[in-house]
Structure formats: C-alpha cells, structure tokens
Symmetry: C2
Subunit: 441 residues, 2 copies
C-alpha cells in the first residue's frame, strides 16, 4: 500500500450505513451497441452475492469532458467507484489521465508494469509498439492491480474516505482481477459482506401478475418485506428481502419455502441456476443421460447443456440436423414420415427425439424442429415462422408439444430452447417422484 498522505484517509467501515457503490462503464462502443455491457451483469452479480446492491451503473462516451463530469458526480455520491475501460494503449483511452487530474494525483511511470507488458508481447512473439508505454503509468498515491491476461493493469486508490477501482475493459482480463484482487481488498475494508442481501425464487410457466396474486397472501403476513419481480423468457423470478432488517434470513427462507410449496412444478429453484442447470442436476441425481437433436435452434439447445460444468457426466451429445437428409442419415427419421408429415411436425419431433436417444444410447432424447424465421427486420416473411414442435423421449414414454412464438430469429430460438428444457425438467422430476413413491404418482 502506498504511504498515506494528508488527504488520504481509510474508507468508513461498513458499520451501520451501507456503502454506496457506483460503476462507470466507459466506451462509445457500448453506447453504439457494438459491444454488450457485460460488466454490469457480471460485477453486479459478484457484489450482489456479497450483500451489496450496486447503487447505479452509468455508461458514458470516451470523451474527456464526459468522463470528467461523470466521475466528479459519482465520486461525490459513492463510497466505492469502479470504472471499466479506457486504460488501453490507443488515443481514445483517456480515463487514467482524466481521473488523475480530478483526484489531484500525479501519474508516474512504473518500470515494473512496463517490464510485464514487454514480457507479454515477447511471449506471444509480437512487437511491442511505443504506444503501449501509456499503460505503464500509475497514480502517485495508489496501487497497481496486475493484469495476468492483458497489457493494461488496473489501478487502486483510497482517498477522501472512498475507494477507487479502475479496471481494463476486456471481460477475460477484468473478471479474474476482480475476483482475485478487488474483492479480497474490499472485504478487508469491510465494504462487502459474506452473504446475499436477498432470496430469489425462480419460477416457470406462471405469468408475473398471477404470481404476485398467488404470493400476496403470504407476503401480507410480513410487513416491511421487500418484494421484486422480474419476467424473462418463459420465467418469472421473485426476490424477497428485508430492507429495514426486521426479518432475519431464517424468516426469509421460511417465506420462500412456503411460496415454493404453493407452486409445485412451476417452482424451479432458489437462487440463480438456470433451467438447464436445474434439469442437469435432476438428471445427475437420477443417474439418467440425455442426447439432443435440433433443427431450427441449430446448436443452441446442445450449447445450453454443455455450458454446464461437468456436462459429460449426463450429456451424450447432440445432432444439428439442418436438412431432411441429415434427419434421415443421422437420426433415422423414416423418409416416409418426412414426406407424409413434413420436417416441422409432431411426428418428426418424436422421431428425432427417439432417434437421437437410440443413436447415442441416452435415457432421454430431447428434440426441437420448427421455423425460427428471419433475423429481426431482414429476409423473407413467413406465416409459419415461430411454429415449433418439441419431442421428448423418456423412460416413461414419447410425446410431442406444439409451441407458437412469432418473433425474430434469435428470440424464437431462445424461447423454443427454454420451453424444451423446462419440459424436460418437469418430466425428469416426475420420473424421480415415481421412483421415490411408485404407487403414489
């Protein structure tokens, strides 16, 4: 840590008052929609799991006056200010200079940083151009957060009873730096806690207004309860919290359990697991395996399962059958079935599901066939767009389901995959219940 100077004082401990966090994400490319602002979701989740609700996220342009105005405002309001981006080697990277001036900090050249940058270029056999030198400056009263995955290091400063954290823009550089360096430092200063500030229930198959109507009688018994709903893709999340602290965590857990019991299979999980993760856990718990076949969703279904760590324990593989030929060749769909019912049909969905399960010796086969349609605003129009059939082969039998979800290509794919995985989740749960109580269900 740098030697303390007269106007440096440690941040206020997180005693009674909750520290206020603000996140400033920099870059015209974010405002032009050329890059998604993944930092908000990622940093927000990291802080949320440590009891901190990020107070605000502001995305601004790369222009020096915009950076200066926003940084001044956020620094005045917040206890912790985190910035992302604008630390790189090129002419539009101005954050370091602008912030240093506002804080009255000098930027000093650090040969240690320069050596790390040069070593990195040498390792990848690339020449280190002179503009990289810009990244080797740090605050005179501050610290360096080394960047093991890139050239621009992060910067840390404590001043005016506040903390400033500056991180580079690329997520693969920022994320390990935040987890390994920033969070431990914030914990040491008492600025994060060790548990979430809320409890979340995830649900599927119930609309937002109906969910509130069903939960309301429970919530009414607990005055002062914080309640929030969030609808997304076939699902609604409900978060409960105790903003004034009158309901301890055990009470929140009891309320959440009561709500979950009200919903039956429409309850998905507590916390943040997605439907694929919940279905995967059920499959692993029952020792069952899965294979998938898909046409219009084109790999998105398989990808949802292979995003899960340890997927090879239950996931046997997938086939993206984008033509009739591939359905016959790879999935043994009979040609006569295809010519009689067409590739977008209940019959084909079932044949694909049982075909892929048999080919890959899986217990469950899940299949999607349909018309995903054009990308938003492009290409041809088709009245059949959004017509989807889902096929499910399971130890309890074979079924199909029809889904109509008109829209642009990507949302239709996402909706179809979500519906298919939710159906699988319910069926595996049903089989597990049957196994546990063979006569009761």
């Amino acid at each position: 840590m740098a030697a303390p100077s007269p106007n440096d004082s440690p941040p206020a401990p997180a005693g009674k008052s909750i520290p206020r966090y603000e996140l400033i994400t920099l870059g015209d490319e974010l405002l032009l929609g050329l890059t998604a602002n993944s930092h908000l979701a990622w940093i927000g989740a990291q802080l949320g799991r440590r009891g901190v609700l990020l107070g605000r996220n502001v995305t601004i342009t790369d222009e020096a006056p915009a950076i200066a105005a926003q940084f001044r405002e956020s620094w005045a309001r917040a206890d912790v200010v985190i910035t992302t981006g604008g630390l790189g080697p090129t002419c539009d990277d101005r954050t370091r200079e602008v912030v240093a001036e506002i804080l009255g900090q000098e930027l000093v050249f650090d040969p240690e940083i320069m050596r790390a940058i040069e070593e990195r270029f040498a390792k990848f056999n690339r020449p280190c151009t002179p503009n990289n030198r810009r990244q080797a400056f740090k605050f005179s009263r501050g610290e360096v957060l080394p960047n093991p995955n890139g050239t621009a290091p992060g910067l840390w400063a404590e001043q005016d009873g506040k903390v400033l954290v500056m991180l580079p823009g690329p997520p693969n550089e920022l994320q390990p730096m935040f987890t390994d360096q920033v969070l431990p430092r914030l914990a040491q200063l008492g600025l994060v806690s060790d548990q979430e500030g809320y409890l979340q229930l995830r649900t599927a198959g119930v609309g937002e207004s109906m969910l509130e109507t069903r939960f309301q009688p429970v919530f009414a018994r607990y005055p002062g309860l914080g309640v929030a709903y969030c609808a997304h893709q076939w699902q609604v999340d409900c978060r409960i919290s105790s903003p004034d602290g009158r309901h301890p965590r055990a009470t929140l857990q009891q309320i959440a359990a009561e709500c979950a019991a009200l919903l039956g299979d429409d309850f998905v999980c507590f916390g943040q697991d997605n439907l694929a993760k919940v279905a995967a856990d059920l499959l692993r718990n029952s020792g069952r395996t899965l294979a998938v076949a898909e046409s219009c969703t084109g790999g998105l279904l398989a990808n949802s399962f292979t995003d899960i760590c340890g997927a090879s324990k239950f996931f046997m593989g997938g086939i993206v059958s984008y033509s009739n030929d591939s359905k016959t060749l790879l999935l043994d769909c009979p040609e006569c079935l295809l010519s009689q019912h067409g590739a977008v049909s209940a019959e084909c969905a079932v044949a694909m599901a049982s075909g892929v399960a048999e080919r890959l010796s899986a217990d469950y086969g899940l299949a999607i066939t349909g018309y995903a349609g054009p990308a938003a605003g492009h290409c041809c129009d088709d009245s059949a767009v959004g017509t989807i059939y889902i096929g499910l082969h399971s130890p309890l039998g074979d079924w199909s389901k029809k889904l109509v979800c008109p829209g642009a290509r990507h949302p239709v794919k996402l909706r179809a995959v979500t519906a298919a995985i939710d159906w699988l989740r319910r069926e595996v749960a049903r089989e597990l219940r049957r196994a546990a109580a063979p006569l009761a269900n």
Copy 2:
C-alpha cells in the same frame, strides 16, 4: 396526438445542434446481474445506425427516490429521454407514477388499454388478475404506444421541448415497439438521421496497439479525424468519424478503404457483421457448403452459423460429439486413432472435420476438440484446460491448428469458436482468390 397544453411545445428541430439522448434502464435485477441489460446494446445500435450516439445510459434501482432523482437530472440535460422497465403490474413497478408526478402529468385510466390487456389474457386462457389494471393508465397529455407482445403498453409524451419515451422491460416487447412506433415518430420530429455517424472496420489477428501503429500514418493525413478502437475476442474494431463535420462521408470511406488494403486477410469487413456472417457470405458466394463437428464447444460453433438468416443455404448440419463413442459412431473417427492420439489431438480434429464433411456431403468440414474447462471458479482444476485443436477439411486439403487459451469455460468456448470461424473465413477467401486467378496464388 394529444391536444397541446400551455407547457407543451414541440421538440427543437435537429438543425445545427445534435439532439442529446439519454437512456434510463430500471430494475434491481439489472444491478444485481440477474438479467443482462440488453436494452443498452440494442437501443444504442438502433440509434447509432441513425446517426445518434446515445449520450448516456444510467441503470438504477426500482426505488421511487432513485427513479425521481435520476429522471429529474436526465430530463434537464437531454432532448430525448427513453426509459425501460417498471411499467408492469406488480408492486415494484413504480416508474409511471414517479415520472408523472415530476412532469406534472395526471395518470388517467384508459379503457382501451384495459380491453387490450383483457383480450390478451383471454387469448392465452389465463385469468386476468386485478393488479393488471395498473398497466391501463396513461399520461393525461401524452399518448399510448400499444404493445402487441405483452400487457404493459408504452407511453409517449412531448413536453418542455423534449420527448419522453417509456417502454416495458421485456426485450421481445420493447424491440418491435421501438422499431415500429418510436423510430418513425423520432424521424418525423427530425431527431434521427438516415445514416450512421461513423464508419467501422473490423479486423482479426492484429493486436490493438499494433493496429493503431499501422493505421496512424494514414490517419495523420486527416486532422480532426475521430478515431476509436475496441478490442474483443480475437478481434479489434476501429471506428472513424468526423466530429466537426470537416471530412465528408466519401472521405471517410476512402480512408477506411486504404486501411483495409493495408491489412490483407486481417481485414474482416466494414460495418457490424460478425465473423460467422462474413464466412457465411464467402461460402454462399462460392457456392460451397459447410458441416461442423465439435466436442468442447458443445453446439456453440453450430449455433454461430444457424444464427444467420438463410443458413440452410450453406449449412448442412452439425454434430456435438461429447464422448469417444459418439466420435466413432457419428463421425467415423477410427477407434485406433482415438486410442493412439486421444480425443484432444490434431489427428482427431482432422478426422472429425473430414468425417462430418463426408457424412453430410459438405465441401468444408470445421471441427473443434479440446478441454473447455470448468465454469469460472467452480469444479476441478486441470492444467490441460484451454488446450484446443481445430480441424479444417476443405477442397484445398486437410489441416489442424493448436490453440492454447486458458480461462473459464465460457470464454474458452467463445475463443475457440472465434478462432475456428476466422480460420474458415481466411481459407474460403483463399479458395475464392485461387478460383479467380488460378495461376497467381
């Protein structure tokens, strides 16, 4: 349009001064990282393509005081304020009320909206609970933006020479409303133009600092040129603009063409197409077809191509071979090859690429095999994580490439897919050049 009242005046025409846009995205779920803020990227891109650089995006909590403070500040600074979220039926949807009070607007019940909500519930055979009535209120001096895909309508108001647009949170509801209703209204008021305010070059395979070093001599000949760089996943984008208007669009195009020529195959495209779209266009131009096989990327490679509208024209299908058995069964990888070299090997990558091309009668076969590793911070550690082999079968021959990209599961998958598609892009371009000038290359 509502009858004008004394303090309503039309917004200033977008003559000399550029209108300032601010976007307020509401929702604790965004700040907690439970939902990605897709509105910034989507609305930012829509405006960017119409010559508007969004001035700022602020994400705030659902609390009434936070909404009020932010709305007041943004309304004072901007010409157009767009809000998303907080218009739904539940207790945490407070935006409508808070904004109405600040603007001195009354909220009036609109039986027309209520009827549309009731019809929507009837159509889906769901009961319409009383809390839905909250969504049927509009500003007394303002208009309703109907929502064909959900219950909460949008609101539009012109006041104090400014425009307010309030939209519901779910992207599948917001996006068509923005395209079909909001943009035409903004165009009518002269608040958007009909072309982009910048030119973008996408590049692959060159680092950010090297790219600036190579472009600098060109840019130095054009004083006042606006230049910005953005690095992401194996690629760097460079945007050029003329902030003070001294360089007409034709000059920007000439500068961009000169830069592109400097780069050879490291130049990907002008504009916003991704690598898969560029590779797909090359395949379509040459009348070639593609099939893919993947293990560790688990469907993400196939999904990148099937996200492209009209993919069935060139994409024959894909196989997610998540086990050795499936590599033998579905891709004809010889068992002896797998036992001698292992599934993560150059030999296996080539066998997968040629196997899938043959199975699906495709001209090109692209394959990925490797260790994607655990999800961030979870599961086992493995020194082999991030070791990836890419196999390519093409009319010019069969090759493999090794890639080492340590990191968390999702970034490794993304990096592997990006590298594979970039390689395919270069090879198809090479074949096209050979076909055009068989003796020259």
